[in-house]
Amino acid sequence: MEIFFQQVVSGLATGGIYGSVALALVMIYQATDVVNYAQGEMAMFSTYIAWTLINAGVPYWWAFFGTLVISFVGGVLLERVIIRPVESAPILTIVIVCIGLLVILNSVAGWIYSYIQKPFPSPFPPKPIMLGTVVFGAHDLGAIGVTLVVLALLYAFFRFTTLGLAMRAAAQNPVSSRLCGIRVGWMLAIGWGLAAMVGAVAGMMVAPIVFLDPNMMAGILIYAFASATLGGFTSPGGAVVGGLIVGVIENLVGTYVHFIGTELKLTVALALILIVLVFKPSGLFGRATIHRV
């Protein structure tokens, strides 16, 4: 039973990370109808920036927030420069451009930082924490905490600020938004910036667990896809819940279903995506999309 609880909690920790990346995907998808295949690589790149800062002697939390600012600016620039010219192009074009971005970020990271794995520090103490008779890693609990704080901040931002409201409006009805004086293009760019920030948090939380290397987010991205698909690509809250569920499922399946173990982890995500897409394409919390002909 203790193993079970431990697996659930560490599942929630990684699930929170999947959920964050899924949330970043959903934010961009809702605003622009783009599934950002480069989301994982953006997070990876942000984490390298944090690593550079920390290695230069910047204290952890300064590096953390500095990275968030840099990521935000980077995300805004990517949207303005790379995505904007193809905003209204066919899906295939946008997918290809995102894949191009993925490849560039991945290889530039490899170019600058090499493909050798690097340890990445955790801001939380290395000693385990006892809750009752069950032992938890401090980093696991800390990652859950950080993820929840990020989500709460984002929720408050979208729910209570004028800018957040304007961003939701721009995603929903660009024409009306312009008539209200909202600069829709910039709202989309800010959306990319925020998504880049959320991804950066996820990257910095996961790097102490998986080590930092240019390919570290590939597996996480597929789980984030599974999370967003499960929760529904139209539901930000759903993406997070989906992430938590997927994280827990992943851990429990890995522990208890022996023929899968950890060797077929990615296949579990693939199967999950296919099952959800075939049986409930809108996900658990999403709206069915209506298409005009």
Binding site: A169, Q172, S177, R178, L179, C180, G181
Partner: protein, 236 residues
């Protein structure tokens, strides 16, 4: 002095020219209506005013030339637009819809006060303020569109066929409120309508458009007396 004035205004979608050089004006504090059947170019005229189509010719607002300026900037000059189809943010609440109207507002004062002000004009919106915009009836959504435009504290209010698809009683109610706003807040109004009876009752100046051209213009009272207009648009 005219608040809004168009001279030789042309507009086109792609290669198709829709407005072939029209002249019209809205006086400061006045209500101007543009009448015409479907496809006459009324909605395009409003879009031209807010920079949503490519134009040639000249449009002046409060003395400045505004051709080619971005919609978002024109809103900041004080041009509020209740668009064709009402433009409701269907998944946002009524109150959020209204707050968006105040997004680009000039001047000080709290948004809360303005909300009270428009709720005063449209009490039904106050009752529905927590409801999603998409759940409102057609008439309520039209009120929401006007109220959203009012949140801007506009100098000029553009109304695109507010009567479309609504019961006569609702139309009368909405236009009564428009008149009140015009008188009490000195908001100038440019109203495009197919329903000539209600529009001529409200406006002080009127234009009649056919296929992208102004074919008749004058004080609303004169057009109301015109035999051709009576036969074609008023039906008596």
């Amino acid at each position: 002095m005219a608040l809004l004035e168009a001279r030789g205004l042309q507009a086109q979608y792609g290669w198709t020219k829709v407005l072939h050089g029209i002249d019209f004006a809205v006086e400061e504090g006045g209500i101007t209506t543009i009448l015409g059947a479907n496809g006459a170019g009324k909605t395009t005229t409003l879009r031209a005013v807010c920079g949503m189509v490519r134009t040639a010719g000249e449009i002046r607002f409060a003395g400045q030339r505004i051709n080619g300026r971005a919609t978002e900037d024109l809103v900041r000059l004080g041009i509020g637009h209740a668009p064709e189809g009402r433009g409701t943010f269907v998944n946002l609440t009524v109150e959020e819809n209204l707050r968006l109207g105040a997004y680009a507002r000039r001047g000080g004062g709290s948004v809360a006060q303005d909300l009270e002000r428009v709720y005063g004009y449209f009490p039904v919106l106050a009752e529905r303020k927590k409801q999603a915009g998409g759940t409102l009836s057609g008439g309520e959504q039209q009120m929401l569109a006007v109220a959203r435009a009012l949140m801007l504290r506009p100098r000029l209010l553009l109304l695109d066929e507010p009567s479309l698809g609504l019961a006569p009683l609702v139309v009368r109610e909405i236009l009564r409120i428009v008149r009140t706003i015009n008188r009490e807040e000195r908001v100038s109004v440019l109203l495009v309508e197919q329903n000539a009876a209600v529009a001529l009752g409200l406006a002080d100046r009127a234009y009649l458009m056919e296929t992208g051209r102004v074919v008749m213009s004058g004080p609303a009272s004169e057009l109301r007396q015109n035999d051709a207009i009576r036969r074609a648009y008023l039906g008596y």
